[in-house]
Amino acid sequence: MIPFTQYVRGLAGDDDLVRLDGPFEIPVDALAAEALRASGPALRFQRSTGTDLVSGVFSGPDQTQHREARPWSRLSLGLGLDPEAALVDLLETIGDLGPAGENPEPTYTGQAASGTDIELQDLQFPQGETETWPAVTLGVASVSTADGTHWAPVHGSVVGGDTLRVRVPDALSSLVAAGTTMAIALGVPPAAITTAYVLAVTGQTATPIQSCGVTGTVPLVPTNGGLVPSATEAVIETTVADRQPDFRSDRREGWEHVVASGPLSLSVESVRTTENPVIPISPVGCPLADDLQLTGLATAATLYDRLNNYWGISPVEWVMLPAEAELGICFVASDILYGGFEWQLANILFSFSSLFDTVVIVDEDVPPQDFGRVLADFWLKSHPARDWMFSEPDAPAATRPHYRRDNETGSRLYVNAAWDPRWKETYIAPRVTFENSFPSSVRDVARVLWNESDIAPGVMTENESPH
């Protein structure tokens, strides 16, 4: 388990975080959004109040450009993996945080956020240019029931000195009543916020964390709400004041496209922080925002696990809901076991997720970090008449896209950009790659030429190696 501040220090140590000194005349979320659009580093906003904000810590570079870092590199680091970790290693690690077959033994340690009780406004949450209230994002809500502690992602607004209006999954709302105590944890270990997202996107918010893998890795501490990670930067203890406030936010965190959510009005009882708290923020609604990346990875981890536990074998190489497509398309790489398997694969994905109604299937040898190849094969290997398969127009609309918001049914689409397993081997066109197109002796000559150069082009890429 890596505490949040240690994680942020790690990003800085990897030159993947830039500090900006306040004061900030430009809205902080605008700065965060522009850095994300530019595939820039994470940002730390240093403020004289002693409470720093960080953005981009759960996001990463735009995969539509060739980059050394992956969109999942930062979260890999946060979950204790190497930043170079393969996507599937991360997906499996994320999957292990969720509901487990057995109850792991929890560890309890002292609360890091043990400072003097402060006012909510002292945290100075960022306020968007068109927003009425300061925004709280990337929070983990914790409530306690007879079954245990329940976690869910939470975001909302600071609407007064002691009032928060937030949105949480309906599954969490159903566990609380007026007067119920709820803790909101900000700046939790990456494993904890990832767990909250996993529970939300799988509709398992009602599953107590005592039954989840995260309990075995993240030390916990009790609050008046529920258990929270001991190494939480800020703990806001609240009581539920109104379960049906008149509160609508135009901005929705990524997880809200997956599960039904609703508003709560919370009365703030206490705010405790570490000595110099660092609180993550996400420019919700902007491209590549942290909440979008977390939702995409949590959903992909869930789908990956389900697909590979369905057929008795594990044909699926990877699943991706790229933030670059705003989670509106699911890409999957798989061994196409037999003719028609691609139809099964697409429709199982539609069964397990309502986020998207377009699936793109690529061959198992396409590496997820070579998204450029995915975006080429998408069109090159699919016959425009035979491999773009539309269902009957009787499917409910997916939750992420903007179209068909009137509850009308419509079609789903899968694009088969994988070789037909019924084709003869001689029909399969070999790829033009450095590895395939030149004998080893020639490859050696080429490498030596560049290696002797004082301006050699960059590092070895996937395209230079067989898969």
Binding site: T358, R373, L375, L380, K381, F390, Y403
Partner: protein, 500 residues
């Protein structure tokens, strides 16, 4: 001043650190291509191979000279046109479109003024094999010239028509030309010269100046001269000189010119070849024969070649770059001239000859269908299968924005439109048809037909920006001050400044 020759262009690259000469002996037999492919994949400098083993002439090979940097593929070409460094893609398009809207007629020069005539070989002196035509991929059918401009006769223009078709070398005087019916020059051969039993005069121009090289890939309508558009691009006339053995005119600053004719009723094997789809594809087929009558060239000619197949996905090469930096602006001009309210037409950078993205307004119902119908029937639709329409406000040079538009706005139920089921022609270079479907039709198209489709990824209403343009610009400036790379921020360029 815009550059006037390939050499000037290479010098320009040299001054910016984007050229890498190699004086070590390198073979044309896969080695030059392998080294070039590494650069293409890794976004490295442009390689020039100064010492080619086993050839009689003092030729040099240049690997994918027009490949642009992956982050800003238009940057080198913009400099060749004497446009400012660091333009955003949209601003670059605006500037090039302005140039294309003002074609400039070429001028003719005498032979003694034309660098491409420094050496003239005719009759028995003609020897194709004295030049280092590269063997590009293991598995290719032979050695190729694939980075050149074909000049062919056109009764409607004074200067002929320019295009680009790969050419496989067979012996000292013959090559096979990949002529696929449906394009102007192949059509001229298959449906005009060959039925009359006449040889078609042709010049293969190798190492042209940048604007010439770029116009060969444009869809210039019949009756209009590519030479004039090349002049418009460089804002100065292109110098042309008459061939030695036929009436065609060729760019005078070219490195090497092969004059000859395409024989009627004669075929030689062509292919297979690792082509622009990024896959080796076949089958080996019979294609028309180009017979060389004369060779003229500059001293120590630089022979450019393209490692086709390396320009898909993240990789870029000369042809994928030229499509983006030249064919895109040209297509935008063409669609506007046809009356369509198009902001930009841009090839999809991951597979530039299969998919195009068009940013456009929708002024009336049915507009997209009309637009799609127009381009499906008037463009070189043997290659392109898909058009994606996005809002005029969406930057089609930004793949993330396009992908988002497809994901969020294109309803599978209503926004994917197929133009008939397998009724359209297709080049046999594709990889989704079986060998049986490709067949070996006489004029080079697949035996089986295919479908074409367009995707309406435009919004149905207003989109709301949470941040004003001015705030975004100030945020970017603040981030640049903090040390982030300024080149990543398009809104810092003059186009945005003008809109304030």
């Amino acid at each position: 001043m815009p550059v006037n020759s390939l050499r000037e262009y290479l010098d320009l690259l040299d001054t910016t650190g984007w050229l890498r000469p190699f004086d070590q002996p390198v073979s044309w037999d896969l080695e030059a291509s392998a080294a070039t492919m590494l650069a293409n994949i890794r976004d490295g400098p442009i390689p020039v191979f100064e010492s080619i083993t086993g050839i009689e002439t003092e030729s040099k090979l240049v690997g994918d000279p027009y490949r642009g940097p992956q982050a800003r593929p238009w940057n080198h070409f913009a400099q060749a046109l004497d446009l400012p460094d660091g333009l955003s893609g949209r601003t670059y398009y605006d500037r090039v479109i302005d140039r294309l809207n003002a074609p400039t007629a070429p001028r003719t020069v005498a032979s003694h003024e034309a660098p491409c005539k420094e050496t003239v070989r005719t009759g028995n002196e003609v020897d194709l094999l004295s030049f280092p035509w590269p063997y590009i991929h293991e598995g290719d059918g032979g050695r190729y010239s694939n980075h050149h401009t074909i000049v062919a006769p056109d009764p409607d223009t004074e200067w002929g028509t320019w295009s680009s078709h790969r050419m496989m070398i067979h012996d000292s005087s013959r090559a096979s030309l990949l002529l696929l019916a449906g394009e102007q020059v192949p059509n001229r051969y298959y449906y005009d010269y060959e039925p009359r039993g006449e040889p078609m005069p042709v010049a293969v121009v190798i190492g042209s100046e940048p604007t010439v090289e770029s116009t060969a890939d444009m869809w210039i309508p019949t009756g209009r001269s590519e030479a004039a558009f090349a002049g418009g691009l460089k804002d100065a006339p292109v110098d042309l000189v008459q061939c030695e053995t036929n009436d065609l005119y060729v760019p005078a600053t070219a490195e090497l010119v092969l004059e000859g004719h395409v024989r009627p009723d004669d075929r030689l094997d062509e292919g297979p070849f690792g082509d622009y789809f990024g896959y080796m594809n076949g089958p080996r087929r019979s294609m028309p024969v180009f017979e060389v009558d004369a060779i003229t060239h500059r001293d120590e000619p630089r022979i450019p070649f393209c490692v086709e197949g390396s320009g898909v996905g993240y990789g870029q090469n000369s042809t994928s770059t030229l499509r983006l930096v030249a064919a895109g602006p040209d297509a935008t001009v063409g669609l506007r001239a046809a009356g369509f309210d198009v902001a930009m037409a841009v090839p999809w950078r991951f597979t530039s000859r299969t998919v195009w993205v068009i940013a456009t307004d929708r002024p009336y119902p049915g507009y997209l269908h009309e637009l799609a119908n127009f381009i499906f029937t008037t463009w070189g639709m043997l290659h392109i299968d898909f058009f994606v329409f996005v809002d005029a406000a969406v930057d089609p040079l930004d793949p993330r924005a396009v992908l988002t538009a497809i994901a969020l706005e294109a309803d599978p139920d209503a926004d994917f439109h197929q133009f008939g089921v397998e009724r359209m022609p297709k080049v046999p270079l594709n990889i989704y048809q079986t060998p049986d479907e490709k067949g070996s039709a006489d004029v080079g198209t697949s035996k089986a037909k295919t479908a074409k489709a367009y995707i309406d990824a435009t919004t149905d209403g207003e989109t709301t920006e949470t941040t004003t343009t001015e705030t975004r610009k100030r945020a970017q400036e603040r981030l640049v001050e903090a040390g982030l790379d300024a080149a990543r921020f398009d809104r810092l360029d003059e186009r945005e400044a003008k809109s304030q």
